[in-house]
């Protein structure tokens, strides 16, 4: 197994600030916008962005929810593995709100498709956007593209993009792993 650094600590930090600024450009004071981190791996990115928006850009009242897509997946009974559910924590209404889905890596687009179905259980949003740290180009199974992307990566199928966060792995970094 070999691995190559795609983004180091400093680069991740710069990208997070850029993504935060792009969100502010579009959503200004976030009064009608909610951030939804997709379980399990989009949660750290979402929490980090919320922290930057609150601390560095003095935006209060950023609403952040967590969405689990386990029961909405399209591969139930089609893979050997049964995905363990995570908690969904959305304690506000999303009716007529601008929703921003946040996930670490956009690959086939199937998780986002599941999330689009799952979010309907919480109302009809005014619109949904997608923010991802890594966009794996040429890997899509569905016509889904991000509105905000950290870095675009050309990876071939057996390669894996690994995102490490300080909270769990002690460092902010993105690797391309070749199995």
């Amino acid at each position: 197994m070999s691995q190559k650094v795609l983004l180091n600590n400093k680069e991740v930090n710069i990208i997070l600030h850029r993504l935060a600024c792009q969100l502010i450009e579009k959503h200004t004071d976030f009064s009608n916008t909610v951030l939804i981190g997709l379980q399990p791996r989009g949660v750290f990115l979402a929490q980090r962005l919320k922290l930057i928006l609150t601390k560095d850009y003095n935006l209060s009242n950023i609403k952040l929810g967590l969405l689990d897509i386990t029961f909405y997946r399209d591969d139930f009974r089609r893979s050997d593995k049964l995905h363990k559910a995570n908690s969904t924590e959305i304690d506000f209404l999303i009716e007529d709100k601008h929703v921003v889905f946040i996930d670490d890596v956009l690959y086939t687009g199937r998780s986002i498709r599941s999330a689009l179905t799952a979010i309907q259980s919480f109302g009809r949003p005014a619109g949904i956007e997608l923010l991802t740290l890594i966009d794996r180009r040429f890997s899509r199974h569905l016509p889904i593209q991000p509105n905000y992307r950290g870095r675009q990566v050309d990876a071939i199928n057996h390669e894996k993009v690994l995102v490490n966060w300080k909270e769990t792995k002690g460092e902010d970094a993105v690797y391309l792993v070749n199995n």
């Binding site: 029961f71 909405y72 009974r77 559910a85 259980s121 919480f122």
Partner: protein, 307 residues
């Protein structure tokens, strides 16, 4: 662990502690789902489930059907009263005919003990036992334990007394297995005639005095007297049973601690439990019903993942 160790839910006896934990963790998520504005997930949209009830049921049947619909499964229902069984068809023939309609899972309630196990040996579908004679009623015991876990945080170390007709009760047997697997202490309480002879082999305490039992326990699970399963008289009169083994508000208030009251339903108000107790703050009877849907969703979802 993310998969059950069993392919069918025939009884709690066959479940490991990890299986029960997995069912409860999954049920936690489904409980949130059924409290949302849209109470449905699409997981089982390509699964067909047949509910075969060869015995009367209200709560269990509705609860299973709702759980299946909340998971987006297609559901067909069958009750023995309106069926060809009355024309002499055997159980296997009836079920095989239903299976040729491409059914993936069967929920069966039957008056004979072992009916679910028998089916699992002979037909190609996942089987869930919804009560077989006086043997087991696994989903009821699971939802009872789940409700105790919800109330106290864990089942381990809790003292639970099952009161009433232990002899004819599948709920009692499944509860004993479930509670013991999770490390709870179990006592049964009732008239000697309604306590089975082999009870000591199950490792439970036996008490014939209701007050003593209630003083000991954290939770009392009150069972109904199953008149329909009694071929002889086991106690002199319903009134006498009620005086000896019925739980009243006065009795509850006279205890030196606050205990939690459960009942699997249907309640015979004024016999094993008075209305005041059933509707009191100490009763979690309606929580049990709500939890029943979430727990059954979890069981169906986890078994369906193995189809």
């Amino acid at each position: 662990m993310s998969k059950l160790s069993v392919d069918h839910l025939l009884g709690v006896k066959f479940l490991k502690h990890d299986d029960i934990n997995l069912i409860f963790d999954t049920a936690d998520h489904f409980k949130k789902v059924i409290n949302r504005p849209i109470k449905k997930v699409p997981s089982l949209r390509d699964i067909t489930i047949a509910n075969l009830f060869f015995e009367n049921s209200t709560r269990t049947k509705l609860s299973f059907e709702l759980a299946q619909k909340r998971l987006s499964a297609d559901v067909i229902n069958f009750s023995s009263g309106q069926s060809s069984l009355n024309k002499g068809e055997t159980l296997i023939d009836t079920v095989n005919n239903i299976l040729s309609m491409k059914v993936d899972m069967i929920v069966i309630r039957h008056p004979k003990a072992g009916a679910a196990k028998f089916l699992s040996n002979h037909v190609d579908a996942k089987i869930i036992n919804a009560g077989d004679g006086a043997h087991e009623h696994p989903t009821q015991a699971l939802l009872d334990s789940y409700s105790i876990r919800e109330k106290f945080g864990e089942v381990k170390g809790k003292k639970v007394v099952i009161v009433g007709d232990i002899l004819h009760s599948r709920v009692a047997l499944s509860n004993i297995f479930a509670l013991q697997t999770q490390g709870a202490e179990v006592m049964v309480c009732g008239p000697r005639t309604l306590i089975p002879k082999y009870i000591n082999k199950l490792g439970v305490k036996v008490e014939t005095n209701l007050r003593n039992a209630l003083e000991w326990c954290d939770v009392a699970n009150m069972l109904r007297v199953q008149n329909e399963r009694m071929d002889i008289s086991y106690f002199p009169s319903t009134r006498e049973y009620s005086l000896q083994y019925g739980i009243t508000k006065d009795l509850l208030d006279s205890l030196n601690k606050e205990i939690t009251i459960m009942h699997p339903g249907p309640i015979n108000r004024g016999v094993e439990i008075t209305s005041e107790v059933a509707d009191s703050n100490q009763s979690i009877i309606l929580n049990q019903v709500e939890n029943g849907v979430a727990v059954r969703m979890a069981v169906i979802y986890l078994l369906a993942s193995k189809i």
